[in-house]
Symmetry: D2
């Protein structure tokens, strides 16, 4: 199957390579000459414009967009919608907001164009491990793309079968690592919640390791202080504990390389998904204290003492005469 | 009524003065000569040892301790328990943990000494405004001390009467600003929860003002940014809004003096009460998300980027290649 | 000054009455005959259509909308925009989302109509106490309406002056209980944050009183259980404590009437403001743990055991054989 | 190596069997005849009293206690301390509080008895999968017990090696699934934090699946509602996603059996570890919002509408006339 791919960054490039490794043909476009040339060298059919890309593909065409969320995705879809023919399909593989998917699909449907949204998990490990794919769109269009999704997904691998899954009731694609979740937007919705959970899990580990790390404070009672080896503990928990996970595998790797984590600032970014997850929870009136706390910790990690904290100090001074002056960082 | 007072810091000193202003006699002790002399000048009968203090008081004696929580309170109670006679009473007015009250009262009861715990709210404004008193102890002992409590409390003042309070059902002392809450420990328990609520309320204001303050960020959409005058808003909300409160009065004072709060570090301390409140909630299996979040914000306010936050960065680098390097503070 | 008022529910009706009490003329409209007649009897000039209302007002007209948020406000503004003349002003006094204000003002400006947004706090007590008003809009338009705002606001009353407020620097209107916060939308934005803070403060009290209430559980250690009188404690804290507030005044009223609160379900609604406040915090990357927890508690209060909680039970059964079966409510 | 085991519940019984399968001799005691007989049939040397158990073991003895936390553990240790000889060792494998370990070890040391604390993870799967062991105690005593720990632990299995672990720097036992964490108490401390993290991770999944589940509410905008198959999604995420974990494996099993989770009440218990983790965080002044929220969700899951929630309703009625009456459960 020949697929067009727009956006050859780390994710888009590796997706292209995984597809070509499996024998798919890929026509590719990126505004960066360098990115295009790198993929061309690896066997892709490189186009130097969206127009040229469209011409390289047989109708009905399928073009996968792997661009940063926002303006660039919006304008590329707009341009392509003028270049494509009725029956063609756009696949949005970036981190789009699911409500944008719904809107775009409605707009494209007026030109008889199809829209498929795919949430992609797997990060830099995906080319080798495969990508977990969460797909939203029309049933037949998604089925036509099955060879692409099947190639990108990790497959069953050596992961244990879940005992209760009977073939008739369940979608067999889930065991291969990809799933048609539902109508347009549902792929990115599921991916969004996936990332929300990811934030929560990461924060659970972060708090736990913080409590371990601080168990050696001099302010603690004697005999109840421990100088723990967190790299060994992370490794230990990978083995038979209730909290073993891939994130813990990565934690063990990171701690084995840099126990004190001194190379990291601890100023942690967040992408749209974490925020949108909270907004979805609010829209549904679902309490989501853990996912929200995880997001807020990231916000706080990127700031100095906040205006709100200073206001606490100011109130304390007013009612109690507690003076909390600015200190040097080491104080 | 003649009362002994141990501990002549800001709180102990002002309590003594408020009592003397109302005609009570006070015998006082503090390890600081300076503190003793200041009170002596204001009319107190100063003793230069605990022994001397005890001798200055007629039996049955009542001695009010106003000391920092911890070791010093513990050892002073121990010394006094040897100096006092059966029937004498110790009043612990500091910020003791209520379980310590229960233990101490049991120990002192073996020597026929009485123990009363008093939670005191009012801060530096108390000498003038009066102190809100939460009292635990034996009924008759607390009643004997009523002249003291009545003097220290703010009285009804010009605060509106609560319509539904019928004399028979309710304790009239509550309207005067002091209350016998229950057996030993209950005074400090109620004061502890008071402080827990205080943390939560302060944090509610802090977050709200933070959201107001940050409404002028350049990253926000044009036309939806506001450069708000927070001093005016604090003042406004004192008038007829649902969130008017004494803490808001203080906020308005603070913001009228220093709108940017630049004199404050924002590194906010916490006393034992906030922590004990959470432990009580856990002991009772009561969810207390707001009070706990308020406490944790103070913890975080006093630290640089935490080990836990660095671990988040480390995990992100492992799975996504996101690099979050240490930045200079201004970056 | 003659003002048009659309929407004569509890809030709109009382606002009209407070204005008329002070000598303003009010032309009023509501789709309910009953509501119109009640106000007519109180002295208002009642119109039986929007068209009729517009005709009763001298140009340039000012019409205050006090309608439920949502569709009805939107369609009323749309109708009025066709009936009004250039230079007329619409005042939106309901609980609108500030981004809707910004959009509407842009649309109305194309017809040379002005738009002022007013956040109103005060609830059922407002007619008597006055309403705290947070106003957004063009400077001169807001100043023209000053007689209206000044009448509705509580005025300085007997609330203590904030010492640091010097006349030149500060807006004198804040002391009267109304404030021109900034451009269109800023009034509702400030009101929105006000309600967010309100949620947080209410939840702080709720958690504190819950901890007090549950201190008598039989599972707690003997000698550390207290059967506290929460009505007395609420009354006590009104007097000289750090946490005195108007919400505490109301709490004392409620507890003096019904100590066990048995008439209340505890299923607590939330309006849009609480939710929008969190979304604003997220948009600004401001951590708002307390305000969010307060909102989520309300969500949870309205539901039975959630699917998420059942999933916790299911996981526990899988890894530990812990069985948590459905129980009858009393178990 | 011959080991004594006291407490033959599910955990103690399976530990005994795993040891015997590997050729260790086990002398066992339980107050239940039935439990003793079952193990005897499986090859254990059954004793009908603690005295008899001690006599069956060669000095220096090692006895593993696997009892419910609390009184029974405390009294068994007390009895054994009178029966054992200097140089003998008690191994506490239950879910003890680490500060109790520290206290007990001090008391036993006065009789020249050794104390080792072992946190055990693995649940009902442990007999087959092996148990992840977190060990605290004196270095040489722990090393003497190595054959026992090595047998109980899962071993390296087919879990990928962590690349950065160089033999010299790291404890090779971690890769086998057991670790000498540090002095007495550190084993249970690390296990305690493990469980705290477990609560947080479980809650992250619970919230995420709740958001997925509620995406089909009729109140949501048309075209943005999805009827998602959560069993398929759980299975999907096991494959190549960032949030794959053993808990997710269990989730997939549970959902494949009972998609609606109707057999579960959702009233979720908590053990001491979750609570102690928060207390440790507070003692260290480490913010732990996620772990705390996870605990509080369990508290709330076990209660009807709280007194605190009713107080919110009461305040709302006071200031706004909002009436929230008791509803029938289905309303």
């Amino acid at each position: 199957m020949k697929l067009g791919i727009v956006g050859l960054g780390r994710m888009g490039g590796n997706i292209t390579r995984r597809l070509m490794d499996a024998g798919h043909e890929c026509a590719v476009f990126d505004t960066s000459d360098e990115a295009r040339e790198a993929l061309q060298k690896d066997g892709a059919d490189s186009a130097d414009s969206l127009q040229a890309l469209v011409e390289k593909l047989p109708a009905p065409r399928s073009i996968w967009l792997m661009l940063p969320a926002g303006e660039i995705t919006e304008s590329t879809i707009s341009q392509l919608s003028d270049l494509l023919d009725p029956g063609d399909t756009l696949i949005e593989g970036g981190n789009a907001f699911f409500k944008d998917d719904v809107r775009r699909a409605r707009e494209l449907a007026e030109k008889d164009l199809h829209y498929v949204d795919v949430g992609v998990s797997g990060g830099v490990w995906g080319r080798e491990r495969g990508y977990c794919l969460m797909i939203g769109g029309e049933k037949d269009i998604v089925e036509n793309l099955d060879p692409i999704f099947n190639t990108l997904a990790p497959g069953t691998g050596d992961i244990d079968k879940t005992p209760g899954r009977k073939k008739e009731r369940f979608d067999p694609r889930a065991e291969e690592g990809y799933l048609h979740c539902g109508p347009v937007g549902s792929g990115h919705f599921v991916k969004m919640v996936h990332n929300g959970i990811e934030y929560g899990m990461m924060q659970a580990y972060a708090e736990g390791f913080d409590i371990l790390k601080n168990r050696n404070l001099e302010t603690l009672p004697e005999g109840e202080r421990y100088d723990l080896d967190l790299a060994d503990i992370a490794e230990l928990w990978r083995r038979g504990s209730v909290i073993s996970s891939w994130l813990l595998d990565l934690t063990s790797i990171a701690l084995s390389e840099d126990h004190e984590l001194e190379q990291y600032s601890g100023q942690v970014n967040d992408s749209g998904e974490g925020r949108w997850t909270i907004e979805a929870a609010i829209e549904e009136a679902v309490p989501a204290n853990v996912l929200t706390s995880a997001l807020f910790t990231r916000f706080r990690s990127r700031s100095d003492n906040t205006y709100g904290e200073k206001l606490l100090s100011a109130m304390r001074q007013q009612f109690g005469g507690h003076v909390e002056k600015p200190m040097s960082p080491d104080e």
